[in-house]
Symmetry: C2
């Protein structure tokens, strides 16, 4: 029986931190060697972090990343390592590549063949497609290497590597951005790819937050029958190790006469590298595989948001954050997430009541802050507000109160939070949810002000689910029940309710999902059974608030289509299909 | 002698306004028919406007654009017309296409072959590459059709259409975004293409502003020797008409034995369409070609900004704008541009002095407003500012004054301008220049607040050039001389000067151009002769202010690389090459 020990370093690099990423990579190489690992993979573009975006247009950035790879190569001995980096050719064309490193030598380079250029991806902006497949042999086993998108297509590189290259084990290195539900899709796809090719699949996925994107890790190893052999942690770094027996696989594959038919595969050539055998320093008892539980949907989203906050704050050199606490559900959830992500000593909550703030919401804000054990500051805005109204009395004379007066209040609060940020170096976390951001029910430079919009991609109906989930894990009303039960209000004028302006969230959210995430037409949504007038109103609010979203802080993507680079709608846009 | 009358409708469509664009197209068809034009072209994606961005992901948007094309086809008779639209195939794949319409029939479709996916372009996000060339014959003359990027490559579609398709006249339809200096490059390229292929080139370019992009028009017709036959207006709609004689061309081409060698051309097939002859209704005297002068560089930039303001305001349904006038050069230039773009009745200037505002700057602001004849409002911010300081006294107690106090003032001004916007429906024009935006020398939600950042892509050194240019065309100090001569200051603390924080603009701007537009490294810039400490400081300020730019309003692109979708740098980015 041939047994090969494969490990996947599920790491959290920082974009652009080439030296820091190198140290992390070498640290994981050391850990894997201590476990007698034969072959170790790192995620896609592990050296640069993913996505490096237009840093790739700087020739010195690419050179520096190659220099870092050379430095790593010199340190890698008695283990085969696959590392994602940026490769270039003599024409200056770039490739999203995987280096095969062994015995202090760079033995081969695989260049990604399928380049995603949709959704949040712009890979054709930077990279050319790879010209050939890469197969290598180690200790009698044949491996195929491919990168992220390559594995998602049944007739893609994995098939060619198995059928033409006779790979027994496919090593895929990925940086696959998270959204709720993607893990299940990914798992189904990988299972299908394993079964279809009768090959072992080792899928290593990046972990960490990078601006709006979360990479969830959750690496997976499937045997050739499509069973999960090992599973990596979600939203955490991990070293996933498994002892694999390709002989069993190979035997089964030989019995399948159809399997080697070479139809419907690309016409790219196969490069084959044979590595010298790795002798284990001693007897190698089989390692038990660590059991990792799959998270439920709400738990997963909650943990994605925590990672998003922690990495945005930490990777950008901040420590402390400040949040305007209104006593409503959105800011309450953001405060709880921030405390879970950063610790209560790094979260300051500020109540900024006006004449329209009810005693109930102010009380609830205080109770929540006490529950969380965070610093709580009260800064009333009435005097400043009066100052604005007095200063603007000539301009406002004879005109009815309108959105102007409401927005002045929200912008005073934005100004105060930013003043605290400027004075103390705290990062402002803004608290608007996706439903509000969609219809523009938020004040630009007011409640939208901040460095990170934590729940910008979380629809209001999810906000409640997440709050209830967190209270359930606490086993108590960490977020006070009255916050959960109170009818949503912006409290910017007397007796204001969200439903004065918006349909109920149970109606609004499905319409928004259809229109924004699924690109459905007015007619499609009408057929779902909603009222014509409501759909028209919602769609037109979404269309008209594109300019606001364009100036909003980055937010953590948790749905299939977030705002930001995921949805590129022109501001100047007269298209109406209603 | 065969003479064919070609016209190019250099139109300004609105993105998404399919019906409005149809009416404009039919209006130009009518005008061309009155001039006995044989063949008329419209720009790339004339039906949808360019770029439609993610509207293309809505299947109903694509269907509606095709329906509009069908409606246009029914109206086009006794003239051949080429119109840019979005084509789709049975798999749902999309193509950036040109429809060949004649005698109320859609006679052919050309699908763009070369798709730009760099800079501001994301065409591979939406479109597949076309599978074949399209050639058509009308009144004995052979035409090749191609689209924008197709013409930019010597070995691209134009060559194939001439060499394999024997096209005598190339009709290129473009939506080529403007930046200073591009017109000259484009003209050289087209001349080269004409000479190389010994073909007549009719290059029709879109005109208009679309969010951050300006399309400058400036359509061109070159004869087969590379001489300009006709030139379209810059930054204006135009109908460019020329009588062309392909026989002369053809004669010359036949004498060139090398010309029909088929080497180095793509392997795509040629589709050929023969149109029935168009009989002129009467004798057709040759039309004199309208003389259009090429603008100088500063004049061109100035006019680009005017078009950008006019179209952003108009296409988004606004009429009036409001500008905070500080008495400095930036807001002065923006006010003048706004008046030139919109008329003085649509520009309101607001002076918002604080204790740090000098009497000189306040006086200059008033003089400028008087020179322009615009409404001028003074709203002092002292009382509001005192309110903030009083309200924050506990939080600020014992701490030194810092950027917090400065930003509070800028944000009060932002709040006031937005309040006027909300009360009166005016759009706020923000006034920061590219040098400031680059190094983050601007207050987020303060002076950065607004719907359009008019000179966001204009470096400070250009700001002076544009101001001087405009004063020169006026023949007087429209912008007061004291504004031009005063040392720049934000006036947010006593005796503040920009040079307290920044190197002189004559040093700053070339460093910024090298770093931002040319992606030069620290070492490259050091070799240009600037001081190490200054370069380090500038680069680090640029890197650290990415988060501010991400929340800035759209600005009008006039340089080869603007902020926005032209430069996609991660916020979370630890790359440093110094």
């Amino acid at each position: 029986m041939r047994t090969i020990r494969v490990a996947m370093a599920q790491i959290n690099p920082v974009v652009g931190d080439l030296k820091g990423n190198k140290e992390k990579i070498l640290d994981f190489v050391g850990r894997a060697k201590k476990l007698n690992v034969d072959i170790l993979t790192f995620p896609e573009l592990a050296i640069t972090g993913y996505p490096p975006e237009d840093l790739l247009l700087k020739p010195h950035f690419v050179r520096d990343n190659q220099e870092i790879l050379s430095e790593i190569v010199k340190e890698v001995n008695k283990i085969a390592v696959i590392i994602g980096f940026v490769d270039s050719d003599e024409n200056g064309d770039l490739y999203n590549a995987a280096a095969l490193v062994h015995n202090r030598e760079l033995r081969g380079i695989y260049r990604k063949i399928l380049l995603p250029n949709y959704g949040v991806f712009d890979e054709k902006r930077y990279f050319k497609s790879g010209p050939h497949h890469l197969i290598f042999v180690l200790n009698g086993t044949t491996f195929g290497i491919n990168i992220c998108e390559d594995i998602w297509f049944a007739d893609g590189p994995a098939k060619a590597q198995v059928k033409k290259g006779r790979a027994e084990i496919i090593l895929n290195i990925s940086s696959s951005p998270y959204h709720a539900g993607k893990g299940i899709k990914r798992e189904e796809m990988l299972k299908e790819r394993a079964v279809q090719n009768k090959a072992i699949i080792c899928y290593n996925n990046l972990v960490g937050g990078q601006d709006e994107l979360i990479f969830d890790g959750q690496g997976l190893i499937f045997d050739n029958k499509g069973n999960v052999v090992a599973r990596g942690e979600a939203f955490k770094e991990d070293l996933i190790v498994a002892d694999l027996n390709p002989e069993e696989v190979f035997t089964e594959r030989l019995t399948d006469s159809d399997f080697y038919q070479e139809a419907e595969i690309d016409d790219l050539s196969i490069k084959k590298v044979v590595l010298s055998e790795i002798k284990s320093s001693g007897p190698k008892p089989l390692l038990p595989v660590k059991e990792v539980r799959r998270m439920g949907r709400t738990e997963e989203i909650y943990n994605a948001l925590i990672l998003g906050v922690r990495d945005y704050i930490g990777k950008n050199g901040f420590k402390k954050t400040v949040i305007g606490l209104s006593g409503g559900i959105d800011s309450a959830l953001v405060a709880v997430i921030a405390v879970d992500a950063l610790g209560r000593e790094n979260v300051v909550c500020v109540s900024m009541p006006s004449v329209y703030s009810s005693t109930e919401t102010q009380y609830d804000a205080k109770v929540l802050a006490d529950n969380l054990g965070v610093e709580f500051i009260t800064i009333p805005i009435n005097d400043i507000y009066k100052g604005y109204i007095e200063t603007l009395k000539i301009q406002f004379k004879g005109l009815k109160e309108n959105i102007a007066e409401e927005n002045i209040q929200a912008r005073i609060r934005g100004n105060i939070l930013m003043a605290l940020s400027n004075k103390y170096g705290w990062l402002v976390l803004s608290t608007g949810n996706k439903s509000e951001m969609s219809v523009g029910y938020a004040t630009l430079y007011g409640d939208m002000a901040g460095g990170l919009a934590v729940i910008k991609d979380v629809p209001k109906t999810y906000v409640y689910e997440l709050a209830n989930y967190r209270n359930a894990t606490q086993g108590s009303y960490l977020i006070p029940e009255s916050i959960l039960k109170r009818e949503p209000s912006a409290e910017l004028k007397p007796d204001q309710k969200d439903t004065d302006t918006l349909p109920p969230y149970s109606v609004l959210d499905p319409i928004l999902e259809s229109y924004i995430e699924e690109d459905k037409s007015f007619d499609d949504i009408l057929r779902m059974g909603y009222e014509k007038e409501i759909i028209e109103k919602v769609i037109s609010m979404v269309d008209r608030s594109e300019y606001k979203r364009r100036q909003s802080p980055p937010g953590i993507k948790i749905t299939p289509k977030a705002f930001g680079k995921d949805r590129r709608i022109p501001i100047t846009n007269r298209y109406r299909d209603y």
